[in-house]
């Protein structure tokens, strides 16, 4: 008797597993392929890259559909804060079929690997990519040492 119950229990367990698989199948069906979905990292902020060019640091970020008025950048020492909002570009008088792009508001802060000269930071926006050029503070720049 006990064995039969155990068998039944196991069968239901299997059915549960199958059901959860089926559910996943249907939610995945409409999704795009690949792990990489969209331009945001999980918490709704744009993805960034940081490069060290010796004399300066360079940050690039994906900010499609944002104009320079939508973005804010704050720098202090080695602290950088990037914020922005994407406005909806939904046209008037249209029926909506699909909205995946969203209109997030984000703030992201970074601790840079070295202090930067905030006076000479250059920010540019092109093709939905924000580029920040951050010259390192004098003390953080690489120095050539001559042997005496």
């Amino acid at each position: 008797m006990w064995t039969t119950l155990n068998d039944i229990d196991r069968m239901f367990g299997d059915m549960g597993l199958l059901r959860s698989r089926m559910n996943r199948l249907f939610t995945d069906f409409d999704r795009s392929y690949g792990e990489d979905y969209g331009w945001r990292v999980a918490d709704g902020t744009p993805r960034t890259n940081l490069y060290d060019l010796g004399e300066k640091l360079e940050i690039i970020a994906e900010v499609p559909g944002m104009s320079k008025e939508d973005l804010g950048i704050k720098i202090q020492g080695n602290y950088l804060e990037m914020s922005g909002t994407r406005k909806s570009d939904a046209p008037e008088g249209y029926k909506t079929h699909r909205v995946e792009r969203g209109t997030p508001t984000f703030t992201r802060s970074f601790t840079l690997p070295s202090d930067v000269d905030s006076e000479h930071v250059v920010a540019s926006l092109k093709n939905g990519i924000l580029t920040l050029s951050l010259p390192k503070a004098e003390a953080a720049k690489p120095k050539q040492v001559t042997i005496k």
Binding site: S32, Y33, G34, D36, Y37, G38, W39, V41, R47, T48, N49, L50, Y51, D52, L53, G54, L57, E58, I60, E62, V63, P64, G65, M66, S67, D89, A90, P91, G93, Y94, K95, T96, H97, R98, V99, E100, R101, G102, P113, L125, N127, G128, I129
Partner: protein
């Protein structure tokens, strides 16, 4: 013996290392009114020259390749070169000749006008 020479030959021509660019689907918004279907797709960093839009027999495919010109040592990298590609089924009533696209701030906006025959028409009662 002949096999051996073949092996050495192959070693000489080491192919250059080319990492295939990963393909991802861009996120899109799709709108429609009586005159056209409008598609917005996020493609940050893609230049106009690297975008192709194809409408063929009820299938619309968009593709855009992003080439990032980066220098220096990366401290962190959350995105890289990528090929945005995605395909959609579109109704046959799209006027293929009048399809036009614009690219601004990394967003591709595609206008797919409907052909005259497909537009809703008000029928007058006599």
């Amino acid at each position: 013996m002949s096999e051996k020479t073949e092996i050495t030959k192959r070693e000489e021509t080491v192919p250059e290392r080319s990492r295939p660019v990963p393909a991802v689907a861009p996120v899109v918004d799709i709108y429609e009114n009586d005159n056209e279907i409008l598609l917005h797709a996020d493609m940050p960093g893609v230049v106009k020259e690297d975008i192709t839009v194809n409408v063929d027999n009820g299938k619309l495919s968009i593709s855009g390749v992003r080439k990032l010109a980066t220098t220096g040592a990366a401290n962190w990298e959350e995105f890289g070169d990528v090929e945005y590609q995605r395909a959609f089924s579109v109704p046959q009533t799209i006027d293929v000749a009048k399809v036009n696209a614009e690219l601004k701030d990394g967003v591709l906006r595609l206008h797919l006008p409907k052909s005259e025959a497909a537009k809703p028409r008000v029928v007058q009662i006599n």
